[in-house]
Amino acid sequence: MPDTAAPLLHTSAVNDYDIEAIRRDFPILSRRVHGKPLVYLDTANSAQKPQAVIDAVSRLYAEDYANVHRGLHSLSMATTDLFEAAREKVRAFVNAASDKEIVFTRGGTASINLVANSFGRSLGPGDEVIISHLEHHSNIVPWQMLRDDRGVTLKVIPMHEDGSLDLDAYADLLTENTELVAVTHMSNALGTIVPIKEMAAQAHAVGAKMLVDGCQSIMHMPIDVQDLDCDFFVFSGHKLYGPSGIGVLYGKRDLLDAMPPYQGGGDMIKTVTFEKTVYADLPAKHEAGTPPIAQAVGLGAAIDYLTGIGMDRVAAHEADVSAYAAERLQAVPGLTLVGTAPERMAVVSFTLDCAHPHDIGTLVDLDGVAVRAGHHCAQPVMQRLDLPATVRASFGMYTSRAEIDVLARALETVRKMFA
């Protein structure tokens, strides 16, 4: 169909947000799928990469690459500088007080597991960890494992039908035995934004620490960990337009200092004898082994790219696209939005009366549209809403209203096919 194969006209409602230029920075966005322009609406799953990130990674491998922290030779020193510069970029991006508070991991999941296996090691029977019904499996399973290993009590903040958390119930769950509250900043399945600043204050009032799963929020809004006053904040590089294979654990310095290392190996030690090992200082103590070097450099480039545009402006553009999507998709006959909390962004989850999400995902792909269909690694959310699955369209800095229109038209075609 030549009309749908024509290039899309991308515009932004945000002043000076040059979405066409931004889209040109992401080479993959110019490709076609089944002969149609790619409409990538799966950024919550993983974000596409700007040329600046691709270049930073290949330039490192082509020009400077060596292992970090371990060589006196020029290449190792150059790579170490780039690696540590990336850490500083992450620090500034989330406004941590010190770069010693930024631990590089393999991903958001690895960051949560690090806390569960290190901070968690000091917990035992009688201690309580609170998570929420909105969590991704990554912020459920490590705590269940801790519960089973150490006899910790695991409590779950219930969720309202609209996908917001029941904050009254949260207040009731907090006790002086609560050691940790681990909640998501933004639901990957429904897009709900969780008021973590208020929740952190409540946690602190009973002496508990607060871990924020920022895997979904990090790419959509400016983050200031000091303002949020969370004790841990974790995210994955690949959702922040950076490479896969790298994640970040922000932790308050005194906490990270007190925590035992979760893994042992090279790079995390000062001295090793068979009798005794003296651990390195922060953050190396928590970074055993050769770290994700090129991935860190790529993540640094992604952060430079985003800061160059401005997270405020990215957030404003995405808020516009999200509002437009909710409105435009609701006009599709038979479509039900799933997750209608007032504070929501960048994710629209829905079902169609005529077809299973799996069918919808398969058919809109024929129109070049990439969405996710399924439980989105958040089965408890689906159980709570009594749904087997939803279709999820998720947006990023490069998503335009025109793409939402393509999705809506593709859904109308699906309806016709099932009529």
């Binding site: 089944h34 799996h358 398969t362 058919l363 096919m417 099932f418």
Partner: protein, 177 residues
């Protein structure tokens, strides 16, 4: 459950059936039309009794849910399957057209080449998502076990005694499963 498949051996060979499937879909130029056809096939799939939708009969490895049950009629394997997604049900309908009511030997000597010939492999190369591979493996696994042990499930052999002779009547299956 309505028996729509003939109890007598199929009139066409597996190879002929696969050729027919390929021809039927080759008739449509547009992928949307091909899918429309697959949706029709999915809708025409005989109903799968609700009581059979148990963990034992669930085929894992698909993003949509799929249930499959095999039952030996002498040396022929009768297959029953369904999915909660219609396109996946359409793929199941194709697999059943090819493999239902065949002997173990026929099944095991005929990998589902029609998928590639239809051009489905480019659409479904993410085999995990449609679970085509998982469904094919489930069928082949039942066939490999053969009629000898009287098993009828997903090859688990953990059926209630005598289950192998049971007709798929709704009251009966309601009991043990």
């Amino acid at each position: 459950m309505t028996e729509t498949q003939p109890a007598a051996p199929p009139e066409t060979t597996i190879d002929e059936t696969m050729d027919d499937l390929v021809d039927d879909l080759a008739f449509f130029d547009d992928w949307q039309d091909k899918y429309q056809q697959i949706i029709h096939m999915g809708r025409a799939l005989p109903a799968f009794p609700e009581p059979w939708k148990t963990a034992e009969h669930e085929v894992h490895g698909c993003m949509a849910r799929v249930w499959m049950k095999g039952r030996w009629q002498d040396d022929r394997l009768r297959l029953y399957a369904t999915s909660n997604a219609i396109i996946v049900s359409g793929l199941i309908a194709m697999l059943l057209k090819v493999y239902d009511n065949r002997t173990a030997e026929e099944i095991l000597s005929h990998p589902p080449t029609f998928i590639e010939r239809i051009g489905m492999d480019s659409h479904f190369s993410q085999q995990r998502s449609t679970g085509l591979a998982a469904m094919k493996n489930a069928i082949f696994e039942i066939a490999r076990q053969g009629p000898a042990d009287g098993s009828q499930g997903m090859g688990t052999g953990s059926q209630a005694p005598g289950a192998g002779n049971r007709e798929p009547g709704a009251e009966e299956v309601g009991r043990a499963e």
